[in-house]
Amino acid sequence: MSPLRKWCARRSVPLLLLAVCLGLMAFLSVRTQSFFSLKNVVNILEANSYRLILACGMMCVIASGAIDLSAGSILSFSAIGAAMAMRAGAPVWLAILLALALGTAMGAVNGLIIHLTRINALIITLGTSFLYRGMSLIATRGIPITKLPQGFRDFGFGDVFGMESGVTMSFLVVLVLIPFFYHMRWGAYVTALGGNPEALKRSGVSTGRYRISVFALMGALAALAGIIITARLNSAEANAGLDMEMDAICAVIMGGTALRGGSGSLLGTVIAVFLLGLIRNGLTILSVSSYYQQFITGALLLCAVAAAELRERGRRTG
């Protein structure tokens, strides 16, 4: 096999998604005038910046053979922590650091519990998702914290390169993750946790450190997404990020990362987030009822997973 064909074969799912993306873009640009404007591209990037950040974290967690159902709750609680700190007079930078620290800590707690108890991550994070969401509700009594300082809004919503700052942040997250995930020990060990944790342990690597760190990263990224959402909406609320972890999981799986872990595709995740954003945007532009959005998302997810599975089976037998 030529190197090019091999490269393509290994990335068949992302490439397939890319093809769907391009097809959809072509269709939308023919059908509507407003689609192929720079403004609309910026719209799509802006609306999906925090989704991309969450999905990147989720990709690492899934590659490590786990899952995090508490990401949306972490997002909400860390944003509420920052908002409360600012209400109490804390400077903006401190509030942002606090949000990131809270997110990291909550994620680390997930990882620690999973490492110590060896109970399935699905169960543990289901539990902590209620726990963290409950903390948000208790802290706010269900009432959104609004009217946040301008400095905070500028950080998460300000103009950077003519776009909302979230876009730049999401790109930075991807750029930083590439070396960590693909070219450093951290990524090798995180994926080994998904592939064969026993092998990793027998190689003399402390698995707990990587289990905790991957969940802590997810928590920190959820907090960053929470900062962006809160700055955009100018309101920190207990319901923020509800079900957002599901969107993230959907994008990661659609992007070709297997739920059983062992490997992950950052490229596929990025393309899948973009594709899902494109669908939302296209439906809005075409004025199609949001009823169809979930249907289409589900159908696409099933197709992507089926394609990946069939390819894998073909390889095994062929």
Binding site: P179, H183, M184, R185, A188, T191, A192, G194, G195, N196, E198, A199, L200, K201, R202, S203, G204, V205, G261, G262, S263, R315, R316
Partner: protein, 248 residues
């Protein structure tokens, strides 16, 4: 018998109601192939788990070279130069051959993985032990049993040290692959390595090992030089369990 590299004294291990090991005592001479034979449930695997640092014994003593201790952790065992090839091989099927060989001991340049150097080194290692894997960048899940065994051995050889533990190296392998694996092991001895092999295949053991220990019901019964015994005599010792148990 040459200089002793590993000596195990009175190791005992209990899991709940089951006494897996009662009194395991054996010695391994430098540069030799020592085999540990026994039926299923005789405690072979427990002993390997203890020697590789995966389990702590309840009692007993392990001496490796100059160092003497009661139990080992995985890291400590590695530091003492004990390298283990597990029965399940402990390979990550999602990773490539190169990545598996270097799992836990990656070559790096600064903070980054040095993939090129690792690929070069992996190719050299595999060539040295005559294991043929055409594409080192394919996930190992698709390789044959012999190739996977070769990879696991190559990974063990990557680590410093001269004592190699092998747990059932030819289990679930075809005849041809078994033979090449055995040749590979003999080749390692010729290069000065010390091997401790666990197996239940007496014929293979007989062809390969210099010393043979029989393990029965958690006890090491005898240690004999291969030349001083026969397959039938060993068989007899292993199978006498039932009667002996009755008497006990």
């Amino acid at each position: 018998m040459g200089e002793t590299i590993l000596s195990v004294k009175g190791i005992a291990k209990r899991f709940g109601h089951i006494q897996a090991l009662r009194d395991a005592t054996l010695e391994v001479a430098r540069g030799s192939i020592t085999a540990l034979v026994g039926d299923n449930g005789s405690g072979k695997s427990t002993l390997i788990q203890i020697l590789s640092g995966n389990l702590l014994p309840d009692r007993g003593e392990i001496q490796v070279g100059e160092a003497c201790c009661h139990g080992l952790t995985i890291r400590r065992a590695m530091a003492l130069g004990i390298r283990t090839v597990y029965q399940d091989l402990a390979l990550d099927d999602c990773k490539t051959s190169v990545e598996n060989i270097f799992l836990g001991s990656e070559l790096t340049r600064g903070p980054f993985l040095d993939r090129r150097a690792m690929a070069r080194e992996a190719r050299r290692l595999l060539e040295e032990i005559h294991v043929e894997i055409p594409d080192l960048t394919e996930p190992v899940g698709r390789l044959s049993g012999g190739q996977r065994q070769g990879l696991a051995i190559a990974r063990a050889l990557r680590r410093p040290g001269e004592l190699l533990l092998l747990d059932e190296p030819t289990a679930a392998m075809g005849i041809q692959e078994s033979h090449s694996t055995l040749r590979l092991l003999a080749g390692l001895r010729d290069r000065g390595m010390t091997l401790l092999i666990i197996s239940h295949n007496l014929h293979q053991v007989f062809a390969l090992a210099d010393y043979i220990y029989v393990l029965r019901a958690g006890r090491v019964l005898t240690g004999t030089a291969t030349g001083d015994t026969t397959v039938d005599a060993l068989q007899e010792q292993i199978l006498r369990r039932e009667r002996e148990e009755d008497r006990l």
